[in-house]
């Protein structure tokens, strides 16, 4: 093609332009650069998590005591089994993705369809599992007491098993405090949900339960939570407690410091959003594969590019798993 640019006489030289020193297509290179910047974003989150954890190194919640649910096993203490399962599902969907890429290199459309389908299913199961984890975390299980200083006090029996607020509280039938809803009185004013129990109901019930003591947030030398004696527990509950916490949100957290909940929501939420968008991108490419777009194009590089993103999501989870659940 004729252009207005004068020939420089360097067309066949290295600096003449048009060569690809990295031997990667534009799209693939941009995917790598995106992955680098996204990796730095996640590192920022995880490093901030590390900062907060080092700041509260002697009172950080123990993950085993927070994430110990397994579907259909109610009341069974199953630390980490479910996250481990989720990790497997994600690694396995990564494997099917790389098998799809491999099949794409050999122009085997049927195989690409099959493996991409498995990948999408795996991703969907993972996102669902994460939603389930969130639900358990938000709902909480046993409830706890919050003190004036924002510390969390949990109830345990003599064997160290948790005791729920519901098993302690002596319900006061005469309490006359009802939640103000906007349909009563001034219509535009309402208030937040009242806690299930008042602190006085807990105090009254706790005084009668000689087998229950308080576990504080503070970690002992051995890395376990401190358990107070019966006298200390009674004193603590009388002097410091101001209210009850059930479950977790960004301000209150029955498992320990609210920062733990904040980072949990932010990091797993941001990762879950990545998985969700990964699934959506996979579905788009999946439809294209079925339509035969890449057969016509005679190359499946698009599958390789979304594959890169999908593996990256898996890579991030490996780190989130370690720093949130294991360490």
């Amino acid at each position: 093609m004729d252009t207005a640019v004068a020939k420089t006489g360097t067309e066949d030289k290295t600096w003449g332009g048009g060569n690809e020193p990295l031997k990667a297509s534009y799209g693939k290179m941009m995917m790598w650069f995106f992955i680098v910047s996204d990796a730095l974003t996640f590192s920022g989150f995880l490093a901030a998590y590390g900062f907060s954890r080092f700041k509260f190194i002697d009172s950080w919640p123990i993950a085993d005591q927070v994430f110990n649910h397994f579907p259909f096993l109610h009341g069974v203490d199953a630390p980490m089994y479910y996250v481990a399962l989720m990790t497997f599902i994600l690694i396995f969907s990564s494997v099917t993705m790389v098998l799809a890429v491999d099949a794409g290199h050999h122009m085997k459309q049927k195989k690409v369809i099959f493996y991409m389908f498995l990948t999408i299913i795996g991703g969907a199961i993972f996102v669902g599992s994460q939603a389930w984890e969130w639900k358990n975390f938000i709902k909480g299980e046993y409830g706890a007491i919050e003190t004036k200083g924002g510390q969390i006090l949990q109830f345990v029996d003599t064997d160290g098993h948790r005791v729920a607020l519901a098993d302690i509280a002596i319900f006061d039938a005469h309490k006359n405090r009802v939640q103000h809803e906007n349909k009563n009185g001034i219509w535009y004013e309402n208030e937040a949900t009242l806690p299930t129990y008042t602190i006085d109901e807990i105090r009254k019930g706790f005084a009668k339960r000689n087998d229950v003591v308080i576990r504080t947030q503070v970690l002992t030398e051995k890395g376990e939570k401190t358990i107070l004696s019966r006298e200390e527990s009674l004193k603590r509950l009388q002097n410091d407690a101001i209210g009850i916490v059930e479950g977790a949100n960004l301000v209150h957290n029955e498992y320990g410091t609210p920062l733990f909940a904040n980072f949990f929501f932010f990091i797993t939420g941001f990762h879950g959003f990545h998985v969700l968008s990964g699934v959506i991108i996979n579905i788009i490419i999946f439809i294209n594969v079925i339509l035969g777009t890449y057969e016509k194009r005679k190359n499946y590089e698009m599958v390789e590019k979304v594959g890169l993103y999908w593996h990256f999501v898996d890579l991030v989870w490996v780190f989130v798993f370690t720093f949130f659940y294991l360490v």
Binding site: A24, K55, I57, D64, M80, H105, H311, L326
Partner: protein
């Protein structure tokens, strides 16, 4: 990109091998996390439990296999590989060093202060 087809011999065997490796490492991590051997918890190395060091090393080991094998990093040119890996590793190490040092300092301030935070 027709040359691609000729170049890529199928490496499904290798993919499954890497999958088994990653699974085994994850199982080891979970088992260690559940039994928490006392020796590994009581021994510390550079102010961190030995167990946590093992977890971090195993994680990096897994990350290496995911990047090199699944993301085909081993097949990329040296330039691309270094542009991605060296940049990320340098910046991440720098960030972690600064934030963890600062976090530890804040912890010391809290602990040494005259105020009690546990009330």
């Amino acid at each position: 990109m027709a040359h691609d087809i000729a170049h890529h011999e199928s490496n499904t065997g290798k993919i499954w091998k890497v999958f088994i490796l990653l699974s085994v490492v994850t199982i080891v991590e979970v088992i260690l996390g559940i039994i928490k051997p006392t020796f590994l918890i009581e021994t510390t190395f550079i102010s961190m439990k030995l167990l946590n060091w093992i977890f971090i090393i195993l994680t990096i080991y897994k990350a290496y296999y995911i990047t090199w094998s699944f993301m085909h990093m081993e097949g990329e040119t040296k330039g691309l590989r270094r542009a991605v890996v060296w940049t990320a590793i340098f910046l991440i190490c720098y960030l972690i060093f600064i934030l963890l040092t600062e976090g530890d300092y804040v912890f010391e301030v809290f602990k040494a202060g005259h105020k009690s935070w546990d009330f």
